[in-house]
C-alpha cells in the first residue's frame, strides 16, 4: 500500500534523493567514527560535520523565508542563538548541580536544598560577579520545560516581531534592516552582565551532558550528529511538503507580486507570519542542537554578521531549491573551517605571499558577488535536473 507520504516522495524524487544521500552520509560517517567504526574520522571532525548539519537546517529555513517567500530576514541567527540559550540553561544547571551534590557528599553535614541551590548559583554566576538565580532561570532544572521553551521563546519573539512588521506592511530592504536591528538589540542586551545569561561569557561547557560524565565525547558527538541529521531530514521533508503544497504556490506568488496576491483575496500577512514563525522555530531547533556540539554560546553568536553569512550561504547555494541551501551552507562553512584551520598552504607570489587566513573572507565576498551577478542559481543550480520543482 502506498501512503500519501510515499506518493509524495515518488512524485518529488529530489526529496527522496536528498534523504537517501543524507542517510547514506550519516551511515558512512558513523562507520568512520572513533566511537563505532574504524576511527578514521576524528571526533573533532564529527563535531564539525554535526554542526554543519545544523547550519544546513537553518539554511533551509532561510531558503523558505527568503528564497520562497521573499522575506530577506537578516536576523534568523537571533532565533538560532535563543534556541541554544534555552538548552544551555538546562545543561549548565544540571551539570553544576551534579558537581555540587557530589562535593556535598564529602561534607561533614548534609546540605539543605536551599544551600545546594545557593552553591549552584555561586558556581554558575560567580564568574560574572553574582550568586543569585535570575527569574528567567526559574525552569532551568526541568529539561522538559526548557525543551518546550526552545520552541516557545523564539516562536513567540518571531510571532510578535512578524505581526508588528507585516501588519505595518514593512517589506523589502526596510524589513531586512528591522530584522538586523532585532538581532543586534538582542545581542547587545545579552552582552550586559545583568541580563541574567552571564553576559559576555555566555553559557559554557555545554558539550558535557549531565549524567554522562563517563561517556566519551567520541560517542556524545555521534549522538548529536545523528540528532542533527535526523532534524535536518525531518525539516527538509516538512519544508518540501510546504513548498509543494497549495500554500507553496501562494508564498511564491507573494514573493513575486505581493500586491496582486492581496487583491486576489489572500490574507498575505497571515501567510508571511506563519512562514516567518515556522522558520524561526526551525532555526531555534538547529541552534539547540548546534550549541551542545560547539560547547559555548555567547551573545556574539547573535551579532548581525552571523545572519548575513546565512544569507550568503543560501545565495551561493542557490535560492528557491531547498537542496541549494544545504549545499551552500555545507560548502561555505566547511571551506571556512578548512581555511581557518591553517591547513591551506600559503601561495608565494614573489615578494608577497597569499595567506589564506587573511584572504579567505575576501574570497568569500568576491564569490558572493560573482554568484549574484553571473550564476543566480548558485551551486544548487547544477543539480536542477534531479528536481522538477526547481525554478528554472
Amino acid at each position: 500500500m502506498k501512503g500519501p507520504l510515499t506518493l509524495f516522495l515518488l512524485k518529488h524524487p529530489s526529496a527522496l534523493i536528498f534523504l537517501s544521500i543524507l542517510a547514506l552520509f550519516t551511515l558512512l560517517v558513523s562507520l568512520g567514527s572513533e566511537a563505532l567504526g574504524s576511527g578514521f574520522i576524528s571526533t573533532s571532525f564529527i563535531k564539525t560535520l554535526g554542526k554543519t548539519l545544523c547550519f544546513c537546517l537553518i539554511a533551509i529555513a532561510m531558503d523558505l523565508v527568503w528564497g520562497y517567500c521573499g522575506i530577506l530576514s537578516l536576523g534568523h541567527f537571533a532565533f538560532f542563538g535563543l534556541g541554544g540559550y534555552m538548552i544551555g540553561m538546562w545543561l549548565m544547571y544540571e551539570r553544576t548541580r551534579l558537581i555540587v551534590v557530589e562535593a556535598a557528599q564529602q561534607a561533614p553535614l548534609p546540605l539543605s536544598a536551599q544551600e545546594i541551590q545557593d552553591a549552584i548559583g555561586t558556581q554558575i554566576f560567580g564568574v560574572v560577579g553574582g550568586a543569585d538565580f535570575p527569574l528567567i532561570w526559574g525552569f532551568s532544572h526541568l529539561l522538559s520545560v526548557q525543551l518546550l521553551l526552545i520552541l516557545l521563546v523564539p516562536g513567540l519573539l518571531a510571532l510578535i516581531f512578524g505581526w508588528l512588521a507585516f501588519r505595518s506592511r514593512v517589506t523589502g530592504v526596510y524589513l531586512s534592516i528591522l530584522t538586523q536591528a532585532m538581532t543586534l538589540a538582542l545581542s547587545l542586551y545579552l552582552f550586559q552582565n545583568d541580563s541574567g545569561l552571564r553576559g559576555n561569557n555566555g553559557l559554557s561547557g555545554l558539550q558535557n551532558l549531565p549524567g554522562h560524565e563517563q561517556t566519551p565525547q567520541a560517542l556524545i558527538s555521534l549522538w548529536f550528529f545523528w540528532a542533527s541529521a535526523f532534524a535536518l531530514g525531518l525539516g527538509y521533508l516538512l519544508l518540501k511538503l510546504i513548498v509543494e503544497s497549495k500554500m507553496g504556490n501562494v508564498i511564491r506568488a507573494i514573493r513575486d507580486d505581493e500586491a496582486r496576491v492581496r487583491f486576489l483575496g489572500y490574507h498575505v500577512e497571515t501567510y508571511k507570519l506563519f512562514i516567518f514563525t515556522l522558520t524561526a522555530i526551525l532555526a531555534a531547533i538547529a541552534g539547540a542542537l548546534y550549541y551542545p556540539q560547539a560547547g559555548i554560546i555567547n551573545p556574539a553568536e547573535m551579532a548581525p554578521i552571523a545572519s548575513i553569512y546565512l544569507a550568503v550561504w543560501v545565495a551561493i547555494g542557490g535560492r528557491g531549491r531547498l537542496y541549494g541551501a544545504v549545499i551552500g551552507a555545507a560548502f561555505v562553512s566547511l571551506l571556512s573551517s578548512w581555511f581557518t584551520g591553517g591547513q591551506a598552504p600559503d601561495i608565494a607570489l614573489g615578494s608577497y605571499s597569499i595567506k589564506w587566513v587573511d584572504w579567505w573572507q575576501v574570497l568569500l565576498g568576491v564569490s558572493f558577488v560573482a554568484v549574484t551577478l553571473y550564476a543566480p542559481k548558485g551551486i544548487g543550480g547544477l543539480f536542477d535536473h534531479f528536481d522538477k520543482g526547481a525554478e528554472k
Binding site: 568512520g32 576511527g39 578514521f40 574520522i41 576524528s42 571526533t43 573533532s44 571532525f45 563535531k47 564539525t48 558537581i99 557530589e102 562535593a103 564529602q106 561534607a107 561533614p108 555561586t122 558556581q123 560567580g126 564568574v127 560574572v128 560577579g129 550568586a131 547587545l188 552582552f191 550586559q192 552582565n193 553576559g199 559576555n200 561569557n201 555566555g202 559554557s204 561547557g205 558539550q207 558535557n208 565525547q217 550549541y291 560547539a294 560547547g295 559555548i296 554560546i297 555567547n298 556574539a300 553568536e301 560548502f331 566547511l334 571551506l335 573551517s337 578548512w338 581557518t340 584551520g341 591553517g342 591547513q343 591551506a344 598552504p345 587566513v357 587573511d358 573572507q361
Partner: protein, 442 residues
Amino acid sequence: MDCGSQNNEAPSSRAAFHRGYMMKRLLLATALSAVATCSAMADIKVGILHSLSGTMAISETTLKDTMLMLIEQQNAKGGLNGEKLVPVVVDPASDWPLFAEKARELLSVEKVDVIFGNWTSVSRKSVLPVIEELNGLLFYPVQYEGEESSKNVFYTGAAPNQQAIPATDYYLEELGVEKFALLGTDYVYPRTTNKILEQYLKDKGIAAEDIFVNYTPFGHSDWSKIVADVVALGADGKKVGVISTINGDANIGFYKELAAAGVSADDIPVVAFSVGEEELAGLDTKNLVGHLAAWNYFQSAEGEANADFIKTWKAKMGEKRVTNDPMEAHYIGFNMWVNAVKAAGSTEVDKVRAAMYGQKFPNLTGGMAEMLPNHHLAKPVLIGEIQEDGQFDIISQTKEVPGDAWTDYLPDSAVLKSDWKDLGCGMYNTQTKTCVQLKSNY
C-alpha cells in the same frame, strides 16, 4: 621539506587520511595533501591558538609572531631533546566556539604536545572543557580575573593580586588617594576585578560612598556624564583616583574626555590594567601622558635580557614594533616549558606538568619568575607612567609577588586553595579540608 625521515607512523597516517577525506569533500586538489601531511609528521609540535582575524587579531597576532620567534630561536639552538620544534598555527578568528573546535583539532588531529594561546577570558572558558577532557597543556599569557584553576592550564599572566591590588596599594600609600572610581567595560574581567577591589578598599577603611563603580559596554564613546561624575567625587577636596579596566577602543574616548574636562593626571590619576605599549602604539598619546598603567613588564625595563629580546623582535618584525606584557608571559612560559620537557625527558603532559612546578626562569625585568603549584607565576609588579612616545617610565617595582588563583578578599573564595602538586586539587576548601571539584569551573 623532507618528509622521508619520520618515525611516528600510525597517528600521522590517520591524520593524513582525515585530511584527505576532508579535501575530497571540498573537491580540492589532492596535491595539497602532500604539504599538509608533511607538517603533520613533525617531531615536537607546538600548537598556537591565537586569533589571526576578527576583533582580537590586533592583539593576538603579535603573540603568534612572538611564539614563532621563540620557536625559531629554540630550533637555532638545536631544538629540544634532539628534536625539532614545529609550530602548528590555527586561526580561531575571535569566534569563541571556534576556539573549542580548534583546540580539539590541535589535540586530537594534529596531536600537538603543548598549546600556547587565548587572550579573552571567554575564549579560555571555551577551551577549558576540551583541554581537560583530552588532557592537553595550555599556556595562557594574559592578565585575568582569577577565580579559576585548571590542572591543564598554566596561567603566565597576572592574577588580580599581581596587578590590581599592588596598583591600589600604590594609590593608597604613595598618592594618598581617598576616593576611588572603578571604571570598567561590562564583562567578566572588570566585574570580578572590581568586586575584589571594592572589598579590598573597604577592608582598608575606605567608606562605601567613597567608591564609585561604573560599567560601560564595549566600544563606549560618550564619556561626558561619567567623567563629570568622577570629577564631582572630588568636590569636597579629597583626592580622587580612577582604576580603569576599560578595554579596547573605549579608552580613546575616555582619555579624550578627561583632557577635554581639563583634568590632568596630577588632579585625577588613572591607572589602567588593559593599556600597554601595543595599545598605545596606535594612539595619539597626548591625552594620556602622565597617567599610569600596572603590568608585570614594560618595554622600558633595563637589562640585558630585555634588550636582546627587543632587538630580536624588532629585527624580525620591524623597527616600529613594540614589546608588551603578554609577550613576556609567553617568553617565560615557553622557556619554562622547554626546561620542563628537558627535565622530564619527554613531552608527555603529566610528566611535563610535574616538572613545571618550581621551574625558575629570569624575568625580562630582572629577578626570577617561579612556577607555583597553583599554576601561577611569582612575578614582580611594575607601575609605569605613560610618556609622549607611547612608552612607560617605570615609577615603582615590587619584588616577586606569588600569583593567587583564588582571591583572599572575597569570603567565598578566601577559603579555597589551589595546589596541584601536593593536594592534587585546584579548588581545595581549607575549612572542610575537601576538594570541591577536580575540573575547573567553566
